[in-house]
């Protein structure tokens, strides 16, 4: 009997099976990625294979810290690798590597990549496979894969050193833990120790790695306490920071995916319950007949249970297994710069969990839905007949309705549960799609909204002279340039190298980015603060949101800060969002007692016409060939490229899955509706209603419900997404691109309408003569 039930509604069962398979696939894929990446990064970033703290410190800091370290932790070890901060050296690969796109760029000695204080893999090299290679040979460099991919650097390419006859050849591409994702600060170019003299014109630095049994936070605090004006770290990373950065995108993807899959499964369960409820209502009479001829409730429930379970179990198992290749595909994208994603035995419990949990949930749901069979008595069933129960009926919303549109509205109202389901599915899918599309767009167009990402001024160009304050000739050029509308001066695209600290332990400014401009006038900088306003005089300061979040300070409070050797009290005037936390903003006057080279280095230029950018750049480069020309795009390009390489495919995959899910649900609801309404359609045809009238009624109904769903998705996007984005990334940079969103909604709604139209074609085959008995 249950096989007959399956055959009778085979298309709907197939659609239900596909929906379940999609949900199980996404759930398995996300859980698998999540556990595998976590396991892989735990191993790759383990304390056994990596040091605990990495410092980019001034030369000599290693000896200074080493002399004190044993007193702090006698088991601690300190290792140093010498290197240089490449700043004024014109290292060319098509463009100037430093001034045009990689900042900061460090050169680091590499003797043996197997013995580095952090995990490093040689992913590609120019050497023969049988050659024992431990590091670049003389005249060669190794480059991090993430940098190589972003800037099209390939094996065999050369880095010319301008002004000399020398050039480095790229002979190795590596993945290392310091640069598993592009948002990690800076990049390394690894060189042979014999080539150190070639970098001698640059500022030397020591890459210090410390391994300690003590807690890393405690170790970091201890190190910071030891700093002096000569011995300190410009940058630092803890192993935990590196691991968290490496996991950031993966965890974001896994969280969005798991949440989506969970919702998807819940909606699927609701739809199955709804489907069963309607099946029971439609088969009231049949169920009554079964009972009247002696079938027990359990036996009747068994007919339906077996049919649903067969479809459910097969679909869930197939879907969950298909989730494995999907997780490998997505995993390889998110782990491109950490290693090769592979499935391990850790996935098996997740796979079993998905299969068992979803099947159990399905059994429970089906059982609960079928329980109403117990209440059906043969007499009630015969009285209600083959149509439906009385409880299903609702009054018409539009009285005297006749047009297909008004009848569609009445249908929506009468069949509210079904309408809610369509709205729910469309809202949910479009909302997730909107979020992903706009997030991708926001990342892809960071430069257009850079003030929100890094709180830097949105000037058209930033001009500076390396290692110098703003020279008079540059200032004079800008003042007299016919292209320039206005300009500001200050730290430009970079931050001041002054050191700042706060006496309050809750305001950690140890590695703060200090920005300073002569003005923050929003008409010149386009900077908009989250709260309050930018500083206007030398006694005022502003902080990024995250820095003040943990403290008791707020706008209007005063705070004592130490800049270099001086301490002073400042009024907090504003809070801004920035992903470069901690960040502090002053006006130039506040730093006037310090050398101008540390803060007044750059002119931010606003052009009269943005179309003049190329002409202005050409003019500037011709006039000042050794000066730097930068744009906000240069800053964000490094960050965005690797994010985009992950975001775009994942967005496409998730949107694709959701589109299929939405369509399958809509197909299911349309089929359910058509099977129930078949008799009504026949009656309508017998009384002269045309096929196109009936089809229009169907299409209007789905189109209106989808439009309501789309509106709700937009509303949710408007209310929630910016807040979620800001909460996760601490940057108020989420924007809705209306053209992109509109196109997405347009395509989605058109596809929904087309599918409805296509499925409604079967209405043409309904003949009124089927009504005659």
């Amino acid at each position: 009997m249950w096989i007959k039930k399956l055959k009778n509604k085979k298309i709907q069962f197939v659609v239900l099976g596909l929906i379940l398979a999609f949900a199980a696939m996404l759930l398995t894929a996300c859980l698998s990625i999540s556990v595998e990446v976590e396991q892989y990064t735990n191993e790759r970033f383990s304390r056994e294979q990596n040091a605990d703290l990495f410092l980019y410190a001034t030369k000599g800091t290693e000896e200074y810290l080493a002399s004190k370290l044993k007193d702090y932790d006698e088991d601690a070890t300190l290792e140093t690798i010498p290197g240089y901060v490449i700043d004024t050296m014109d290292l060319y690969h098509g463009k100037n590597l430093v001034s045009d796109y990689i900042t900061p760029l460090f050169s680091l000695v590499l003797r043996d990549y197997h013995t580095m204080p952090y995990q490093m893999d040689l992913t590609d090299s120019s050497y023969d496979s049988d050659e024992m290679i431990t590091g670049p040979k003389q005249g060669e460099v190794w480059v991090q894969k993430i940098i190589a991919d972003q800037h099209s650097i390939k094996l065999g390419d050369t880095f010319e050193v301008k002004g000399t006859d020398f050039s480095f050849t790229v002979s190795g591409i590596v993945n290392d833990n310091t640069k598993a994702v592009s948002i990690s600060t800076g990049a390394f170019v690894y060189y042979n120790p014999e080539d150190s003299t070639l970098f001698s014109s640059q500022k030397p630095f020591s890459f210090i790695s410390i391994t300690s049994q003590k807690d890393t936070t405690e170790l970091t605090e201890w190190v910071e306490e030891q700093y002096t004006n000569d011995y300190y770290a410009m940058l630092y990373s803890t192993l935990t920071d590196l691991k968290n950065s490496a996991n950031l995108m993966t965890s974001l993807v896994a969280k969005i995916g798991s949440l989506s899959a969970g919702f998807m499964f819940l909606i699927t369960i609701v739809i199955i319950l709804f489907f069963i409820r309607n099946t029971i209502l439609n088969e009231y009479g049949t169920i009554g007949t079964y009972k009247s001829v002696g079938f027990s409730t359990t036996e009747i429930m068994g007919f339906y249970m077996k049919a649903y379970l067969l479809v459910g179990i097969i679909s869930i198992i197939i879907g969950a297994l298909l989730g494995l290749p999907v997780s490998i595909f997505i995993g390889n994208i998110v782990m491109e710069y950490m290693g090769t994603f592979h499935l391990s035995t850790a996935t098996i419990p997740r796979l079993c969990f998905v299969i068992l949990f979803t099947i159990l949930l399905l059994i429970l749901s089906i059982y609960l839905a079928l329980k109403r069979i117990q209440k059906i008595s043969p007499v009630d069933a015969f009285h209600v007949g083959t149509t439906s129960s009385k409880s299903k009926l609702k009054k018409s919303l539009i009285k005297g309705a006749h047009t297909s549109l008004s009848m569609a509205i009445n249908d929506m109202w009468k069949y509210r549960n079904r309408s809610v389901l369509v709205i729910l599915v469309v809202t949910f899918s479009l909302y997730i799609g909107t979020m992903l599309i706009n997030m991708t767009h926001v990342f892809d167009h960071m430069e257009n909204n850079a003030t929100a990402w890094v709180a830097l001024p949105a000037c058209d160009a930033f001009l500076s002279k390396p290692n110098s304050s703003i020279p008079d000739d540059l200032l004079s050029y800008v003042e007299n340039s016919p292209y320039v509308e206005s300009y500001i001066t200050g730290t430009g695209l970079f931050y001041s190298d002054l050191r700042i600290s706060s006496a309050d332990p809750l305001v950690d400014l140890e590695y703060a980015n200090i920005m300073s401009y002569n003005t923050y006038d929003s008409s010149l900088t386009n900077i908009v603060y989250a709260q309050g306003r930018p500083p206007k005089n030398d006694s005022e300061v502003a902080f990024d949101y995250k820095t003040l979040q943990e403290s008791n300070y707020t706008i209007g409070d005063t705070i004592t800060l130490s800049l270099g050797a001086e301490s002073k009290t400042y009024l907090i005037t504003g809070i801004f969002h920035s992903m470069m936390s901690p960040s502090v903003a002053f006006v130039n006057d506040a730093l006037a007692t310090y050398p101008k080279e540390s803060y007044d280095t750059t002119i931010g230029v606003n052009l009269k016409h943005t179309s003049d950018k190329a002409a202005f750049e050409a003019d500037f480069r011709k006039q000042f060939p050794t000066y730097r020309y930068g744009t906000l795009k240069d800053i964000v390009d490094n960050i965005k490229q690797s994010i985009m390489s992950i975001m775009i495919p994942i967005t496409m995959i998730i949107i694709g899955i959701f589109c299929c899910f939405t369509l399958l649900n809509i197909i299911n609801l349309i089929l359910m509706n058509q099977s129930e309404q078949k008799r009504n359609f026949g009656i309508m045809k017998a009384f002269g209603f045309t096929n196109s009238y009936i089809i229009r009624r169907n299409v209007y109904r789905i189109a209106i419900l989808s439009a309501i769903g789309a509106s709700l998705a937009l509303l949710l996007n408007h209310i929630v997404n910016a807040k979620i984005f800001c909460a996760v990334l601490t940057v108020d940079a989420y924007q809705t691109n209306w053209w992109l969103t509109g196109t997405y909604y347009g395509i989605a709604l058109t596809v929904i309408v087309l599918v409805t139209l296509l499925l409604s074609r079967s209405i043409r085959r309904i003949s009124p003569k089927e009504l005659m008995e």
């Binding site: 209600v384 007949g385 149509t387 439906s388 129960s389 009385k390 009926l393 009054k395 018409s396 005297g400 309705a401 006749h402 249908d411 009468k414 008799r679 009504n680 026949g682 009656i683 309508m684 045809k685 017998a686 009384f687 002269g688 209603f689 045309t690 096929n691 196109s692 043409r764 003949s767 009124p768 003569k769 009504l771 005659m772 008995e773």
Partner: protein
Amino acid sequence: MKNTIIETKQLCKSYILGKTGMHVLKNINLEIYEGDFTVIMGSSGGGKSTLLYSISSMDRPTSGSVKILGRDVTTMSEKELSKFRKSEISFVFQSMNLLHDLTALENITYIGYGTDTKENINKKALTLLEQFGLSEEKDKYPSELSGGQQQRVAICRALIGGSKIIYGDEPTGALNSTTGRQVLDCLTSLNEQGQSIVMVTHDLKAAVRATRLLYMADGHIMAERTLGPYRAEEEGERKAVVYDFLKELGW
């Protein structure tokens, strides 16, 4: 001389059952006249229902022609057929076939809208409901009505658009004798007012309402009998006449 409202020529209808063909209607030439209460009776499987579908535009014949109100419905497109059904004919089915999600009143008005102004249709529907004793039930859904009430709503629906022919497919088949009689009284009363009715039945009580009785067997019209207008007081005699007629044909 009565006007012909339905005319068939060499009407054939065949079905393919498995690998064999089944000829249900065999070269039927028939004329049905305006104002008649035409009842089609016959042996089970004799083709009476198939004939009703074919002469009501619900089904297309395999060959031959069917003219309803002077129009050849066998050559009409689906759209033309819909328009034709809406304006010219209507149905009363054995299983009522009311739209289950509309109230009694809505079932009537929904079918009527488009044939007259909304106001007129609403007014007419209420009058019909009153006429058929259903005023109290106008806001009830089909599942809340008895079988007889449902069938009377179905008759109101058939009448709302001013159809020239009402087709009945065993309209009393699912009703008990009391409600069946009420429905037949409604149809008889309508016929007395000039409404043309074509009805298929196997019920003798329904057949006696006919002014013209056709008997079908084996895909042919085997015989016909013309009866005078129905009078309740003559029902016994009329029944005997019809019974004898049918008995002669082996019913």
